[in-house]
Amino acid sequence: MRGFNLIVLRQLKAQLRTAEWRALLFATWIAIALATLLALLGDRLERGLLRESAAMLGADLVLSSQRPINPARIDDALQRGFQIAQVAQFPSMVSVGDEMMLVSVRAVTSPYPLRGEIRTEPPLPQDQPFSGEVWVEARILEQLSLQVGDQVTLGYSEFTITAAMLSSPDRGSGLRSFSPQLVMHQEDLEATGILAPGSRAEFRLLLAGEPQEIETLETLWQASLGDEERLFSLRADQPMTGAALGSALSYLKLTALIALLLSALTIFLSLRRFSDGQHQRCALLLSLGLNSTDLVKLYLYQLMIAWLLLSVVGTITGIALEQIILSWLKELLPEALPTPTHWRYLSGPAMGFALLILLGLPPILQLSNISVSSLFRDEIVGSDKRALLIQLTCFALLAATLLAFLGAPLAALTLLMLILVGGALFGWIAQQCLKLLAIPFAKKLLLGRLLIMRLEQQKRWHRLQAGVVILLMTLLSLVWISRSDLLADWYTQIPEDTPNYFVINIQPWQTESLQEFLDQNAIRSELYPMVRGRVSTLNGSSIHAQMNPEQLEHNTLNRELNLSWSDTPPSHNSIVAGRWWDADTSDPEISVEREMAEILGLVPGDLLGFNLGGIEIEARITSLRAVEWTSFQPNFYVIFNAAALKEMPATFITSFRLETERQALASQLVREFPSLTLIDIGQLLTQIGTWLERLGDSSALILGLTMLCGALLMLLTLHQALQQRRYESALLQTLGASAEQTQKLDLLELLLLGAVCGILAVITTELTLMLLYQHLLNLTPKLHVGMWILLPLTSSLFFVISGILMRRRLTLSQCYRLLKSS
């Protein structure tokens, strides 16, 4: 039918000018963009980091240990017919001339890896570098201005870079997986002189075999794991890398989910408002002979056109957002992410379709049931309760789908319920506050009584508006303030003379010459010996048996500790109980860190037993020390007297401060002592800072979109509320009130609403921050005076300004017309 196209297009064009259609389009646009973003990012990150863990592991099963792999394990694996590979991964400096860089070195046996492959540029036929060669990641080439074919120094050896690694499995666990990586052959390891007994390194045994047998071995080894050992497998729920990114991803998802729900709510409300305004039009079209099927089609077409256009625009926006976020997270991600699965591009349009059709169909179907005879009566047809019910059901369905999409439905559901309940509660409190606030005005102002009446009338609207506004403002200020507080705290905690370099892996035979070097260059520093050991007994019997579950959680009972010895107390520690031993004591004595002693209930006089790589040693606690962990000085939970540990194999550690203008000394140090590992803390901190900032930026981007959705929702309902007020104002004006007075009434209402929302948001934020700081972040709570002024001010201004912009002043003749037509 040709007439049909005529109205579809004309009607759409005309309706684009209405507030509800603009809100609808905008909200759908954001929803499609966000759904696309989430689908693409989620897919790529998950597939890149989490799902392909087989290739990520480089094997079917990985045994990781803080000490060289126990030969018995290797024998066991070989006897069972598994294919194996060994990896030692450790931090080290690579240098070229004066330039150097901290990298994570993997020394591997061949074949390597057992699953997946290292992709290189140029592509090479072999699986791993030959002896004398190294492969490095592009980041290393960039930073040291190197090219494939150049020479680099690693410890005492020189290597040729034969390839740049594009991607590689088995990056190791924790932070080391984020460091720039270098792969070398294990044959060359000894010659570099880097890895001596006691050096910091992760040793891994990679295994590949039949799934059935891998599983058997996994269960078997799991039961007999040493304290320094960990097992990683495909089945394990905790992949080696990506845990951090995984939680960042769920955070992004959650924020985006809130934004999506807000958009859905906006779409829901604007569709309702839209269809409520269509009753007369539909009755007219029906009176002209259009049948109800065509009428439904008419409105569906209109939604479909909007959907098609928005799908294109929204998907493009989503892809753009994804690119932005990926570029921000670039350094945190493996070199090459898999390209997204193609159908994922349809997620945004699918979401848009579900939103528009699921939420739009019930009111549209309701429209087709309109009676033409309503045109005789000029009545405003109330909307059908049943359609609302169906629409609400659809909304709930959508919310459920979104939750499922998040992966952790239960947590998300709890959070969502919290948000809903919190929103409702805030709305109610705000409305009560408004009531109280209005009372003094009622006495003074001419329109005061009207204000009270209006507050009663508009109760529901105020609750909705206040609930959403307070929640959003609280969320935004929480993120904003905790972030700046954390950063501020971070910087103020670092004193001026804090060491900015750590040197680790110092071998005993190097200590003298190193000390000499440091003294020559007037670098103040102390060398501390380090021996690894575990706490095993307390007063003669197993310490684990004597502790309650809470104590058993403590760090010191669950890992190997770095133990040190000295006959003088470290200058940056202070003795808080007992007394330091004399230099000539020969019985083993120890000084324990205060907090550890408190938590484990240790007192001077207790006898603590240690296992140092198989050697048992018992020592009496003679003093407790206060330690400032954030001082960037080498710090130890337990320090022995020299006589007790002197004979144990140890490495040494030191830290010192180099002013910016003397940084060249660092490279000189690495040249003279190639096997040492120098860690530039300043650089490390900046790097971690950048990562945190990037993650923060990404979430801020999505949070910004959430805010946009919220603002949109508020503007839509505000517009609707103001529209309703026009009739009231018209009536008041014809009864003799001036246009100024009615405007004052509207603006006063909005001002009060804004102020109440702002103040409640401030209070909620402060309370939440207080809890967070005290219980989670260990910061001292403080009042944020700026926020107390800023939030109420911005929210009042937001309401009043949008009120002024959206409210049109009525002339008397307009009033007359409005009333006549109503």
């Binding site: 039918m1 007439g3 099927t293």
Partner: protein, 235 residues
């Protein structure tokens, strides 16, 4: 002109009753109501506000169902038709003129008229729409939108729209109710002139006794019953 007694019956209400069930009570508007409308006849329905005139009109046009009784259009029961047939009826045979015009604001005068023709499936909608706008004296203003037209002009567009589909039955519910007296008079002239020219059956609700007097027949709805108030020969 003689009374069209020999004409066929176009519309007939047989023992029609209508009641609305409100919360606790039953509001009965009429019972055992009978009415015959002949082809080409002009009929005015008068009555107090709230008497049920508009409701009766909806029943006669098949927009609403009687609680009991039947309404026959050309001998066919409106109640037994399905929605699609009734919609087709509205497209081809029945037109309406409303008190508050009801033009689509985003369509020009021409497009408002054209829309009705196109819904009907008329292939020469534009030419005919122009023709009918000329007939109501708006030939110069076909591109104007409702907001640019006065109330009287809007109602004239509505009249053009109503006649354009060449209905056999035209319902008008207080067509001058929203207009001042002079403009209302002009609209009435227009309506009757076209009606005469097209020989349409016109059923009209009005409070205006002068207007009622211009119809061939006038019935008054009172206490649920129709009373014939005048039967006049316009010779």
């Amino acid at each position: 002109m003689t009374l069209p007694t020999d004409n066929k019956i176009l519309l007939e209400a047989q023992n029609v009753a209508k009641w609305f069930a409100t919360q606790d009570q039953r509001l009965e508007l009429f019972h055992d109501l009978n009415l015959k409308v002949l082809e080409g006849e002009t009929l005015a329905i008068v009555g107090r506000s709230g008497a049920g005139k508009s409701t009766l009109l909806s029943l006669l046009a098949g927009l609403d169902q009687p609680s009991s009784g039947d309404i026959l259009l050309q001998g066919r029961s409106l109640a037994k038709m399905d929605d699609a047939t009734r919609a087709e009826l509205r497209a081809k045979q029945i037109s309406f003129i409303f008190q508050s015009f009801h033009l689509l604001p985003e369509l020009s005068a021409l497009d408002n008229v054209r829309l009705a023709l196109e819904i009907q499936g008329n292939p020469s909608a534009v030419t005919e729409a122009k023709h009918w706008l000329n007939q109501v004296g708006l030939g110069q203003r076909i591109d104007h939108f409702p907001a640019q037209l006065s109330g009287g002009e809007q109602q004239r567009v509505a009249i053009a729209r109503a006649f354009a589909t060449r209905p056999s039955l035209l319902f008008a519910d207080e067509p001058t109710g929203n207009l001042d007296e002079d403009t209302g008079q002009q609209i009435i002239e227009q309506l009757f002139a076209l009606n005469k020219q097209e020989n349409t059956t016109l059923i009209l609700i009005t409070h205006d006794l002068d207007l009622a007097a211009r119809c061939q027949r006038c019935v008054s709805l009172h206490a649920g019953q129709l009373h014939e108030t005048q039967r006049q020969a316009m010779s």
